[in-house]
Symmetry: C2
Subunit: 429 residues, 2 copies
Amino acid sequence: MIQTILYPKRSQWSELMQRAISNTSELHDTVASIINEVRTRGDEALMEFSRKFDNVELNSLKVSADEIAEADDIVPHSLKQAIAIAAKNISKFHKAQRMEEIKLDTTPGVMCAQRAVPISKVGLYIPGGNSPLFSTVLMLAIPARIAGCRKIVLCTPPDKQGKVHPAILYAARVAGVTEIYKVGGAQAVAAMAYGTESIPKVYKIFGPGNRFVMEAKQQVGSQAVAIDMPAGPSEVMIIADDNASPRFVASDFLSQAEHGPDSQSILLTTSEDFAAKLPAVIEELLGTLPRQEMMKKSLSHSRIIVLKDDDEIMDFSNEYAPEHLIINHNDADALAEKVENAGSVFLGAYSTESAGDYASGTNHTLPTSGYAHSYSGVNLDSFCKKITFQHLTQEGLNNIGNAIEIMAENEDLMAHRLAVTVRLQEINS
Amino acid sequence: MIQTILYPKRSQWSELMQRAISNTSELHDTVASIINEVRTRGDEALMEFSRKFDNVELNSLKVSADEIAEADDIVPHSLKQAIAIAAKNISKFHKAQRMEEIKLDTTPGVMCAQRAVPISKVGLYIPGGNSPLFSTVLMLAIPARIAGCRKIVLCTPPDKQGKVHPAILYAARVAGVTEIYKVGGAQAVAAMAYGTESIPKVYKIFGPGNRFVMEAKQQVGSQAVAIDMPAGPSEVMIIADDNASPRFVASDFLSQAEHGPDSQSILLTTSEDFAAKLPAVIEELLGTLPRQEMMKKSLSHSRIIVLKDDDEIMDFSNEYAPEHLIINHNDADALAEKVENAGSVFLGAYSTESAGDYASGTNHTLPTSGYAHSYSGVNLDSFCKKITFQHLTQEGLNNIGNAIEIMAENEDLMAHRLAVTVRLQEINS
């Protein structure tokens, strides 16, 4: 089921790094037309799409206070406790990311400062379907609240009864979401990008979704708002040595496979022995789990790759730039120092990806498809922008004014020079 | 020439905030075809585009060490000294933005860390034309070098003699650019996004350019690489009180107008008197400058707006979200505290935008067109990604394992639960 490759040459690496590719070109027009409908007809279009896609007739797009209170009664106590533990850790880690204002004189009389300021309105998209992703609500809304975003808007599709899953409503309340709307798909993204009668326009949109949602985020992201990051299928790279437990590694493979048929798991090891043992353990554990057909599809583009040494392993991993990187290896800390490209890194035998997916405190919204070469996962910064400030005194402008005049003149920008000249004349008159 | 609006109602504000809009839809196909040519035919296509667009036959795309040495001889001493002053300040301010690793236990036994890691390869685009933007070379390459980017690739179009302006080559050497190529336009962006025989693929592309370059950045940014930010015409908002010097403010208006016919300057003031005085001073100073026709075009969509108090002024400014905000006002520091949306802010009479454009130390690559609602200007972070790390001990997993199992089960992700269960079983057996 899983391909094993022994000692591939470097020239073969790029082929082994191929992700499962989904062709999105035919999506473009469908999504563009949905966006256009929402942009021009607002709530009316949203109601129509609810009838068409969610099979439900809604009276109101906004989730009421009663519905939120009702969810509070339904969510089991055990889940509330678990959410409290996760929320505490996520909150602690993201609070630690707060930035102090930076302020210094670069030259006497030339004060420069940089200050993080919250994005005032953000939009979070949470998919519907069978798995109610309340964990993603925590991962997006908690940092937004810590950053100080004033409006935290959440859109999620209703079920056929026009309801939102209670765990999503509960997590939204705990995390500090300010308003919740029953809208899904590309139309939800369009509503948050342009605003409708009910739904406020936001300045940045976050969150996962199907290919319609992703395409919509790309389209509005090049016109109207910022988006968190481009998204593709989820993926894990696992580096394991002979000391790793095959059961632990197999469970991490399967946990990744469960994300969807396009998900990918790749094992890198120097141990032929470990590589040989793993497939049978994966088979065995798979037998104990639901959704086996989908997971088999995902496992079919997973790979076990044996490389000659740890340097090759780190080169391969850095070139692949995995969303998740598990280093289940005796020298995990030393290898971690060599990580250049990855979304989130899990060190040692007990740091399963599930920990970061839910409750350790790190964020689980991470760059896929090699975007970890240049993108960060969602973090406190994702909800802020950094504004620079400067204050020059007369002394300050005297110190650097002439340099500015010369540079402006050499760039042939004479009004730029003039703005300094008129000031220097006044100072020195 | 410049429209003056007295005490507009809030309902009129959004109209007054309109930027000059350039329609880019017809560009899409032209640029897509250029990108496709470069992607499929590499250097050969680049050479063809040089013949077609730059009217030059190139032997080699790469700028040679001899050409860089030659530039060193040509650049005047005064400009070298000015560049040295600017480089020192830019370097000092961006070094101060370095982030320490964040590391803490969110729960006993659950260590979470966040570390900034440089983007290994970045590409800088510098436009050609009459103004050789060596200042932008400094603004992009200095932070890239401080961040630790290994490859800093610069593309800029050659002149008809196949040469690059010496000030650009000189600034590139001073700032730490690692390789320079004579390629301009959409084709340069495509080359850096996908790589050719001569030009390496990079992971993030920075820099200004004409509408072809901007469209190319948007297109590759949704497919292959990250880009710094979307870009539109440059703009300044100036807040001035009665104490401001009309000559200073007029020179800042003109300096903005000089950026191009779509540039916009808006004055906000509570003083009818100041508003009445300003146009004549702008006219007078304009008479002393070159490029008057272009600047008049730009000034035609600039505005002078009188508002009733400082609260209205700050509301208007935050809603507009200017790229540059000059607060030439006695209470500049107090008003600065209320800035929510802006790229870079200039406080007091002597902090002209020209200072930040060249030499104070802040970056001049800033969000336009209202993107300051959600985007930061280029800063040290722009050249890094933040990677999270976690290490759970047995104690750590014992502390949060059950919460993870419950959450995974409630999201119907049973393999995620299993990855914890197999570990807890081993720990507690």
